[in-house]
Every structure is written in C-alpha cells, then in structure tokens.
C-alpha cells in the first residue's frame, strides 16, 4: 500500500512542480513585458508627464479664444554635463489650439565638444498628451563645441481638448549628458 501510494504521489508532485514552474516562467515573462507595456500605457494616458518623442502635425481644430493657458517653461541640468540650458521665454500665455513658439539657449561652458539631450516632462500629467510639439530640440541629441552657445526653438500647440480645470501647464526640460554608451545602450529609443 505504501509503495502504491508513493508512486501516486510522485506523479502528482511532478505535475504540480511542472505547473508551478510554468507559472513562474509566465510571471518572469510578464515582468519583462511590463516594461514596454508601461511605456505604451504612459504614451496613451500621458501618465508621468511623458510627451510624444517625435514631431506631431498641427491639429486644425480651431483656436479656442475663450480660454487662456499659461505654459511655464523650466529647465534643470542633471549632473555630469558642463552645459547651461535657459528658457528665454519663461512663461508663454496661449489660447488652446494656437501655435506658439518659445526659445531656449544651450551653452557649453567647457572647452570640449560634448553632446546632451533635453528630456521633457509635463505636469500636471493629464495635460501631457494635450501638449503637442511640432518642432523640438528634444527629439534628438545636440552637439556643442567647447564654449559654443546655441538658440533653439520649440514650436508647440496646446490641444483644445485640454481639461477645463487645467489653467497652467509646466513643461520641464532636464538636460542629460549623452555619452556614447548611453546612446547605444538606451533600450527605449
């Protein structure tokens, strides 16, 4: 009886172990899938203030002159890049649907040729997907020679679909060094 039962058990144990290992592998796959899924989710919802990373066309839904939206432009630098990034126009007041421009000045304070990239973030985050950029220096990395200074434009439009309770959008640019290794290793580009 004991022998009979132990064989019964061992096939059951094998089946359970196989099933749990299968569940384990599925969860590993799910974890890996969460990374691109999160990106897609953020792109759709604008969660975390991420904006589109390529130029968008002008949306011709008309200008809503009954509302004005303050767009604040702020910049900051991540450590590791001896550059300065300034917003020349710190606040731009626009009507939803209107195409506007703001200018930024990049200055390389070192004497070496370096590359960097400004990464945008919009808050509040529900405004992110209503912030459309037609032209932006943030779509690609910038190269500056030692001591060089460069003025670059941002052409944007605030979508009239922006929720009514959002009267101010803050667009923050963070300047990051673009070393060779990051450019090659970036998985999300």
């Amino acid at each position: 009886m004991t022998v009979h039962q132990s064989t019964d058990n061992s096939s059951g144990v094998k089946r359970t172990v196989r099933n749990t290992l299968f569940a384990l592998v599925a969860m590993v796959g799910f974890t890996i899938a969460l990374v691109p899924l999160y990106d897609v989710f953020c792109e759709i919802t604008g969660l975390n203030g991420k904006t589109a990373d390529s130029a968008q066309v002008i949306s011709a839904t008309g200008v809503d002159t009954s509302r004005t939206v303050r767009v604040q432009l702020v910049t900051r630098s991540a450590p590791g890049l001896p550059w300065r990034l300034e917003a020349i126009n710190q606040v731009v007041t626009v009507h939803p649907g209107e195409v506007a421009q703001a200018r930024f000045r990049f200055t390389n304070t070192s004497d070496q040729r370096l590359s960097g990239r400004a990464v945008p973030s919009v808050s509040p985050s529900q405004g992110a997907r209503h912030f459309r950029k037609m032209q932006c220096f943030c779509f690609q990395e910038q190269w500056l020679a030692g001591g060089e200074s460069l003025e670059l434009p941002l052409v944007f439009q605030v979508d009239p679909a922006l929720p009514d309770d959002v009267a101010t959008l803050t667009l923050a640019y963070t300047l990051y060094p673009m070393g060779e290794e990051i450019a090659l290793g970036g998985l999300h580009d």
Binding site: N9, T16, T20, A23, L24, F30, V119, M178, I182, G185
Partner: protein, 552 residues
C-alpha cells in the same frame, strides 16, 4: 540542541526496528555538522530555518537599536548619517527577508507535513537547498557593510535612481543576495504547494485542512507570482548599473517611476506574504485556548484568498505622491479600502470564536490575543493611509513607520512567537516555561507599544522617515520610542532563554499538549520523532475536519 537530537535519533531508530524497513536509508546518516548540512528531514530543516531567523532577528534588532540610540536625542551622537542610512536599509531588508519570511517557512516545514499527515515535504533535497541558500544570501548582504563605500543605504525599498545612479559599489552584492533569497523563497513555495496538493492523508479534502496549511498554500502562490517580479527589478538595476541600459534612467529614455511600479507590484503582495501565515497561526491558537471550534472556517479561507487576490491591484497606494492621475488615485484608494472587508471578516471571526468560550491565558494565547488587538491597530492606520488626501500628509513620515511596524511586529512577529510557544511541546517534548513566557509577553507588549505608538504622533506632526537628526519638537516622542525599543529588544533575550530551557528540560508534554488543540500534529508523540506518518494517518472528516458541522 543535543538532548533533543539524541532523543529523536534514538526514537527514530526504535521506530525503525519496530516497523522493520529501511526506506530512508538513514542507518548510516552523517553526524555532527554534516548531518545539518545534508539533512533532508523536514523537521530538521524547519529547525534550521527558525534558528536562522532567530539569529537574523537579533542582527536586524541590533541595527534597530543603533537607529533608536541615535534618535534618543536630537543631533548626531553615535553614528554618521551615511552609516545611519545603511542601518535603516539593512534593518528593513534583514527583518523582511531574513527574519519574518524564513520563520514562517520554518514553521511551514515543521508543521505542514504533520498537519496534512505526510511523512515529509514533497521535495526533501530541494528543501535542503532552499534553506542553505539563505546563509549564503545574508552573509553576502551583511558583508557589504564592510566594503568600500559601505552597504546599501537607499532604504529597504531601494528606489532608483538612489539604488542605481547614486548607489554604493556594493550594490552588486546586494542584488546577488536578493536573487539568492528570492530563489530560496520560490523553491520553498514550490515545495509547500507540492506537499499540500499531493501529500495529504487519504480522506483529507482541501476544506478539511488546518487554516495554517490553507494560509500557507495561498502565501506560496503569492510567492510564485511576485518573487519573479522582484528578481526582474533587481536584474534591471544590475543592467542599469553595469551594462549601460536605461530602464530607470530618464536620460536614456527610461523612467524612475517604473521602478516604483514594479517594486510595489512585488512589494504589496509581499506584505501579505508576511501576514497570511500569521492569520493561520492565530486561527489555530484562538480556538484551542477558547475551547471552541473556529467560527466561520469557510469564510476564513475565502477571506484569505480575497486578500491575496486584492493584493495585486493595490500597489500604487504606496505611490500616491509621485503624481498619479486622479482616476488612478481613486481606484487605488477604493481597492485598498476594500481589503479592510476580508480582513475585518477575520477579526470578527476570531472575536466570535472567543465569544462564550472557556478561555485560558497560556503564553501562546496571550501572544495571539495581543496579535488580534495590535494587528487591528495597524490595520486601522492602514485604512487611514489609504485615504489619498490624508496620505499626502502621512507619506514618508513616522506615521507610516508606526503603521507597518504595528502589522509586522505585534502582527507577524507576535504570531511567530505564539506559534513557537504553541508548538514548543511538540518540538522539544517540554512545555515552554510559563512564568518566563508571560514575562516575555508582557515586556514585549509594553516595549512594542512604547516604541511604536508615539511614532503615530511624531509622524502626524511631520517627522520624516530615515533621518538621523530631527527638529526639537519631536524630542520627547523619540525618547519614549527609544526607551521602548531597548525594552522590547532586550525582552527578546527572554525568549532565547525559554527556548534553551525547553530544549534542556521542563514540564514533559503529552502527545496532545493542549486540551483544546486540534490537528494531526497532536496525534504524534511529543517530541515528534524524526520520522512521522510513514503510513498515512487515519482521517475522518466528520470527526477530524476543522470545517465539520457536528460538534462531538
């Protein structure tokens, strides 16, 4: 250990002669250190797990006392802020992964085969491997404290970029140790599931299992589901640090907030991993000392399963202040509050079990009653933290520290202590010393409340977590917390003394050590011989099931 060892060995050779078989080939079993290194016996591995977790409790506790000593007064007295950060981080990691989790796995190893009538765990050699991974993992983790740049200093939640861009060089060892501890938990969980699903004695259906077995089955599924997520997160950290990827680095297109989502997708089920087996333990001890059947067996099972399922959809309540959309905050607020419903079912079931019971207050019962009262306090502050606007004030303050220590110390740890006192007669053959046990309990209760209750107030007043120095207005509360912390810490030495005394001698326990206790473990002699249930025990659901309808 020695008397217990010789006793079990002699008993098992007697039973060998009596049953006249040599199926386990233990006639030439290794002795001394090799015996413990190579053992595949669930009771010995269970003992190893619990001794290991006791050691970790004292190492993590010493770190807690370093923290409390520094916070005794405002200003910097004993340690530098860099070392203080390493202490808060290591204290959390060691208590979570080294003390609480292995203690529950140890209890599972000892008691699940006894409670389901199995001769051993389903995969004994894997069992040995999953235990011995732990000393390696935690030696590695502790060794980082002595490395250049110090150990992990980014908090036990190791948020990126603190744990990637700004991390000390030892972080690679931290990642390795988390991987090892994770593999250990996963293998342990597979073993527990395989044992419970396949090795139950004939006649025992799932709804006849003890609640400790039930809660562990559900916990094991949680482990299988979320440990891979933890492994994934630390692997991404490893890639970001060493191989130039940018999972959590905004410069390369990654997102540090992704780290928090992934971490808490693991982290929230993890907190239930640390509390569900405690629910199971209390659900055995309360009926035993109230001398009544557990009220609402089936609802306990369903409540446990509901908590486990809900634990997957509440993770972002740890992240209300990162800037989530309003709808997400509402969803996570309500789903979190929903967990209070099955948890409340459990608390009411325990109270209903006590109602009109014939209650006696032996040490295991005291710890269980302490659990019910103080876990509920921790649960209530949890509901407070779930309220989004309130959380904006509570976030990262000592209120949060008070909350999770109430559910983990007088919650999980008290349940482990209750289990140790409850099953001590089964393990050692002797009752734990009642007088010392009561001293242990009451000093722990006073110590734990003195430590953590004032933290609610300092937190509400705005004292942030993880700081070595603080504003003067928090001085009184912190001094109380520190006095309580030292009282609680040193009271745990009583427990060590109780264990040593029980191993060496004391009041001999019969097979059924407690009058009102139920379960197959009480059918084997005390102390339990090394090998039990070589033939499956008889199990009559109408008589033996905790869910049976008729009272005998």
């Amino acid at each position: 250990m020695t008397p217990e060892t010789t006793q079990s060995v002699s008993q098992h050779s007697v039973s060998d002669v009596a049953s006249g078989h040599d199926a386990h080939a233990h006639g030439h079993a290794p002795t001394g250190l090799m015996r413990w290194l190579l053992t595949t016996n669930h009771k010995e591995i269970g003992t190893l797990y619990m001794l290991f977790s006791l050691l970790m409790l004292f190492i993590g506790g010493t770190m807690a006392l370093v923290i409390r000593a520094e916070l005794f007064q405002p200003g910097l007295q004993y340690v530098q802020p860099e070392f203080f950060n390493q202490m808060t981080t290591m204290h959390g990691l060691i208590m979570v992964f080294g003390a609480i989790m292995p203690a529950f796995v140890g209890l599972a190893n000892w008691m699940i085969p006894l409670q389901v009538g199995a001769p051993d765990m389903a995969l004994p050699r894997l069992n040995n491997f999953s235990f011995w991974l732990l000393p390696v993992a935690f030696t590695t983790l502790l060794a980082t404290l002595f490395m250049e740049g110090g150990g992990p200093n980014f908090g036990w939640t190791f948020y990126a970029p603190l744990s990637t861009t700004y991390a000390p060089p030892s972080t690679n060892f931290f990642i390795l140790s988390i991987h090892l501890a994770g593999i250990s938990s996963i293998l342990g969980a597979i073993n527990i599931i395989a044992t419970i699903l396949n090795l139950r004695t004939p006649g025992m259906r799932l709804m006849d299992m003890s609640l400790f077995v039930w809660t562990w089955l559900i916990t094991a599924f949680l482990l299988i589901a979320v440990m891979p997520v933890l492994a994934g997160v630390v692997t991404m950290m490893l890639l970001d640090i060493n191989f130039g990827t940018s999972f959590f680095d905004a410069a390369g297109g990654g997102d540090p907030v992704l780290f928090q989502h992934l971490f808490w997708f693991f982290g929230h089920p993890e907190v239930y991993i640390m509390i569900l087996p405690a629910f199971g333990i209390v659900s055995l001890i309360v009926p035993a000392f109230a001398r009544k059947r557990l009220f609402g067996y089936a609802s306990m099972v369903y409540a446990t399963a509901s908590i486990a399922i809900l634990s997957f959809v509440v993770w972002a309540h740890h992240m209300f202040t990162v800037g989530l959309p309003l709808t997400a905050e509402l969803f996570f607020m309500y789903s979190t509050m929903l967990i209070a419903v099955p948890t409340g079912v459990k608390v009411f079931n325990w109270i209903a079990t006590l109602f009109r019971g014939s209650i006696s207050f032996e040490t295991p019962m005291l710890f269980s009653l302490g659990f019910i009262v103080m876990f509920t306090i921790g649960g209530l502050s949890g509901v407070m933290l779930a309220i989004v606007p309130a959380d904006f004030q509570y976030h990262d303050t000592y209120f949060v520290v008070a909350h999770f220590h109430y559910v983990l110390v007088p919650g999980a740890l008290f349940a482990i202590m209750a289990a140790a006192y409850y099953w001590m007669p089964k393990w050692t053959g002797h009752y734990a010393n009642e007088t010392l046990g009561k001293w242990h309990f009451w000093l722990s209760v006073i110590g734990v409340n003195l430590t953590f209750f004032p933290m609610h107030f300092s937190g509400l007043a705005g004292m942030p977590r993880r700081i070595p120095d603080y504003a003067l207005q928090f001085a009184d509360f912190n001094m109380l917390s520190s006095i309580g912390g030292f009282l609680f810490g040193f009271s745990q030495l009583i427990f060590v003394w109780v264990v040593i005394k029980a191993v060496r001698g004391g009041v001999k326990a019969p097979a059924k050590a407690w009058e009102g206790a139920e379960g197959l473990e009480w059918a084997v002699p005390s102390p339990a011989p090394l090998h039990t249930f070589d033939t499956p025990p008889e199990f009559v659901p109408e008589r033996d099931s905790p869910s049976r309808h008729s009272d005998h």
